[in-house]
């Protein structure tokens, strides 16, 4: 049975976020995806990968460099990967591109 995408973003476990694009701001729900990876080549640093899931319909006007504020912290969109089922994986950076 298919679960509607909207229900995935209404479980009580998602985070409130504010997406600010060039033309508007909107409140959306995201799920954090915490993945650890080390950063660097010769010298490595601990680093958690900053990724969130969002409904594609909520972020279809977003582009690289737009701001996503989550729990009072500002992040910037590095990459967006819509999966074709209504969910988009967004890679974030703490640094403004």
């Amino acid at each position: 049975m298919d679960i509607p995408v909207a229900e995935f973003f209404n479980t009580g476990l998602e985070e409130d976020a504010v997406l600010t694009t060039a033309s508007a701001s909107s409140s959306i729900k995201v799920h954090f995806l915490n993945e650890y990876e080390s950063l660097g080549a010769e010298i490595q640093f601990e680093s958690s990968n900053l990724q969130v899931y969002a409904q594609t319909s909520d972020v279809e006007n977003a582009t690289q460099g737009d701001k996503l504020s989550i729990n009072g912290t500002d992040y910037y969109i590095l990459e967006m990967h819509p999966d074709g089922t209504g969910i988009t994986t967004i890679l974030l950076s703490e640094e403004q591109p």
Binding site: L39, E42, F45, E95, Q96
Partner: protein, 160 residues
């Protein structure tokens, strides 16, 4: 100390001296304080809160025995500096590279006087990488191959 030990410790002391308060030539100061971030090469993953790391690595060495009873030895040393300094990362790497080159140029005569006049940096190269992920991360590796002469077989040669 063997010549290998001397070379490595001199380079470590050299990079630790890269501080804006130090002169590399009369009236000319280093541009960075990367010497403050020196750490021994453990191969550890640094904490996420660290912003700068500087390491010296003696990654390979070999001996050429064709000049019996002497042998030429070569020691490949990498000076590696990494930083996460936001939008200043690329600029900081350029300055760090310049300071490392300055340090080597300023110290080479002293190193030769300490290790022996047969010490020669025979090869030098570098590579740089900057990535924008969660943070902007940059790393520069400067590789120097030193050659020097030792007496064949003598590990504790008295003149060392």
């Amino acid at each position: 100390m063997t010549k290998e030990q001397k070379i490595f410790s001199l380079i470590v002391a050299g990079v630790q001296g890269i501080l804006t308060t130090n002169e590399y030539a009369t009236g000319k100061n280093y541009e960075t304080d990367i010497g403050n971030y020196y750490q021994d090469w453990y191969g550890l993953v640094n904490p996420e809160s660290d912003t700068d790391v500087l390491e010296v690595r003696d990654v390979s060495a070999s001996a050429d025995e064709e000049q019996y009873p002497f042998q030429r030895e070569s020691l490949e040393v990498q000076i590696v500096y990494a930083c996460k300094r936001g939008t200043d990362t690329a600029n900081q790497l350029r300055k760090a590279k310049a300071d490392i080159y300055r340090m080597i140029g300023a110290n080479l005569d002293t190193w030769r006087a300490t290790v022996g006049g047969d010490l020669h940096p025979v090869q030098m190269g570098w590579e740089k990488e900057i990535k924008h992920e969660k943070e902007i991360f940059g790393e520069i590796t400067i590789t120097i191959v030193f050659e020097y002469q030792t007496e064949f077989w003598l590990v504790e040669e008295p003149n060392y």
